[in-house]
């Protein structure tokens, strides 16, 4: 009886907060038929926004995959002073408002910022262009690969790596042949999370991009702009594409989630 009650509470909460609203987006998108949906999605500004978002993900995901793997190895296997500080800075983007991230980059690369003056004098456009947007995207997605790799490496232990080293393998060979195959799925899971975060970033990118339509507008900014300019169908159509990507990400997460976390 109480078991059934708790089940109803949990499932009811999920339905009210997550699933019913998501289902409504489908209905809202197609309530005026297919034509307006297609015209919003094929709008050059929307197409450009998708290209920008993909570019940002293509920059941030590989960088953070390499960083997260190396940082995970350094934190678990290395012995050096300041490890706690390193750990804290890797976690910071999880606890920090994306708006604060955006403002920090704005101050650093803006006209009166530390780097802004030099960059402007030499003709480099960082703020309100893709480089600052890429930096914002990299910042917010820093923790995900490292956070997946660290517990997996801890659980793995060092015996196999030490055996390989004793048998004469170089550090690189040990990593390539022993460590990497064992943490492969943790890295993949981290990559999936990183990708989702990069595609969905809004707050930080909103500030450093300047939101120039057809120039520095990402897909999430496009959804925002469409809704604010009284084009809800356009906003819902683009949002539906993002939701479909999110469902694909969810499937990928379920398939690649490291075993000790599902079980």
């Amino acid at each position: 009886m109480s078991r059934l009650g708790l089940r109803l509470v949990a499932l009811g909460y999920l339905a009210l907060v997550l699933l019913a609203p998501l289902a409504m987006v489908f209905w809202r998108t197609f309530e005026h038929g297919l034509a307006p949906v297609w015209s919003s999605l094929s709008d050059p500004a929307t197409v450009h926004a998708f290209k920008i978002t993909l570019l940002l993900a293509a920059i941030a995901v590989p960088l953070n995959t390499i960083f997260g793997t190396v940082a995970g190895l350094a934190i678990v296997r290395g012995r050096f002073p300041g490890k706690g500080l390193l750990n804290a800075f890797i976690d910071l983007p999880l606890a920090l408002s994306p708006v604060v991230v955006g403002l920090a980059l704005y101050l650093l690369y803006g006209r009166s910022g530390w780097f802004g003056g030099w960059l402007t004098a030499h003709g480099y456009q960082v703020l309100f262009a893709w480089p600052a947007m890429a930096l914002a995207t990299v910042f917010v997605s820093v923790p995900f690969v490292a956070r997946e790799v660290i517990p997996t490496l801890r659980e793995l232990g060092e015996e196999q790596e030490q055996a390989a080293r004793t048998l004469g393998a170089s550090a690189w060979q040990t990593f390539r042949r022993i460590t990497l195959p064992s943490i492969r799925w943790a890295v993949v899971y981290g990559v999936v999370l990183t990708t989702a975060r990069c595609l969905g970033e809004y707050g930080a990118v909103a500030i450093v991009s300047g939101r120039i339509v057809g120039r520095s507008e990402t897909v999430t900014l496009r959804v925002d702009a469409s809704y604010q300019t009284f084009d809800p169908t356009g906003a819902y159509a683009v949002a539906l594409v993002l939701a479909a990507i999110a469902v694909a990400v969810l499937v990928a997460m379920t398939l690649t989630k490291p075993k000790e976390q599902t079980a």
Binding site: R77, F80, D91, L94, L96, L103, L107, G200, T220
Partner: protein, 281 residues
């Protein structure tokens, strides 16, 4: 000479290995710290420097201004409400996923992660679609504080579930059976046996949810209407300041948010230490 320097190099390397830092470890360490410096540390330093440059007087003038105070109060209040909701409903959900058994349970388990996968602006838009001005169920909470709480519930839903779930899986059911066979009521079993074991997990999930709720903007920005003094949260306040050209005002409130984030990270670190204590023994 070359042979001698190679030997010297080897000697130095092995001395390094004995000390614990090998030369091979220096290269990755250099990469990791310079990457973090460029990406994370320098921007944060620029923000801290900007608020120091303004001076304490102008900092306090902005932070204690009525609009900033209203925004900070609303943000903290909404985040606290959401944390309590998460602590209760997240624990119930984790219990249903671990101890209950029903068809489609693994699907429900997968759906929990949806807020991690869905862009936050889309989350906000989905809530407007159902609970906005044209709501098909007749519930219009757009531009109210309830809408802010709902949006924050959406984005923070997985945190408590995902920190409590593994602890609950490892919890020994025999303890509970023993208590029950000794005559403890179901409530007493939960209060005296289950809850104390789950508490560190619940708290670290709540801390993560709190940090997320305080900083959230994407899910909130569309449905809250951003009315100053009424439904404008701190992150939206910061964004509005920047867009109206007042970077100094934005920086002052952003520094407050930054300090809250650091404090919560410390708390999370401490809780993680408590949660994994038994694993390290």
């Amino acid at each position: 000479m070359p042979a001698a320097s190679v030997t010297a190099g080897r000697l130095r390397a092995s001395a390094g290995a004995r000390r614990g830092t090998t030369r091979a470890a220096l290269l990755p360490l250099g990469f990791v710290s310079s990457f973090l410096t460029v990406v994370v540390v320098l921007p944060i330093a620029a923000l801290a420097w900007e608020s120091k440059r303004q001076g304490a007087d102008s900092f306090w003038r902005v932070v204690s201004g009525p609009e900033a105070v209203a925004a900070l109060k609303l943000t903290l209040g909404a985040a606290l409400v959401v944390s309590v909701l998460n602590a209760v409903l997240g624990t119930v959900t984790a219990w249903v996923l671990v101890r209950d058994a029903f068809r489609g349970q693994s699907l429900v388990n997968a759906v929990i992660d949806l807020p991690f996968a869905l862009p936050t602006i889309v989350a906000g838009l989905t809530l407007i679609a159902l609970y906005g001005p044209r709501s098909p169920v007749g519930i219009d909470i757009a531009f109210t504080r309830t809408a802010i709480v709902l949006a924050l519930c959406f984005v923070t839903l997985p945190f408590v579930v995902r920190t409590v779930q593994p602890v609950m899986q490892e919890l020994d059911a025999e303890m509970e059976e023993a208590a029950r066979s000794l005559g403890a009521s179901p409530l007493a079993v939960f209060r005296r046996i289950v809850f104390p074991n789950l508490l560190p997990g619940i708290l670290s999930g709540v801390a993560l949810a709190l940090a997320r709720a305080i900083g959230e903007i994407g899910a909130v920005v569309l449905i809250s209407g951003n009315l100053p003094y009424r439904t404008e949260v701190s992150s939206v306040f910061v964004m509005n300041r920047i867009e109206s050209g007042d970077a100094a005002g934005a920086a002052a409130v952003a520094v407050v948010l930054l300090c809250v984030s650091f404090a919560l990270l410390l708390a999370i670190g401490g809780l993680r230490f408590l949660v994994t204590r038994h694993e390290r023994v």
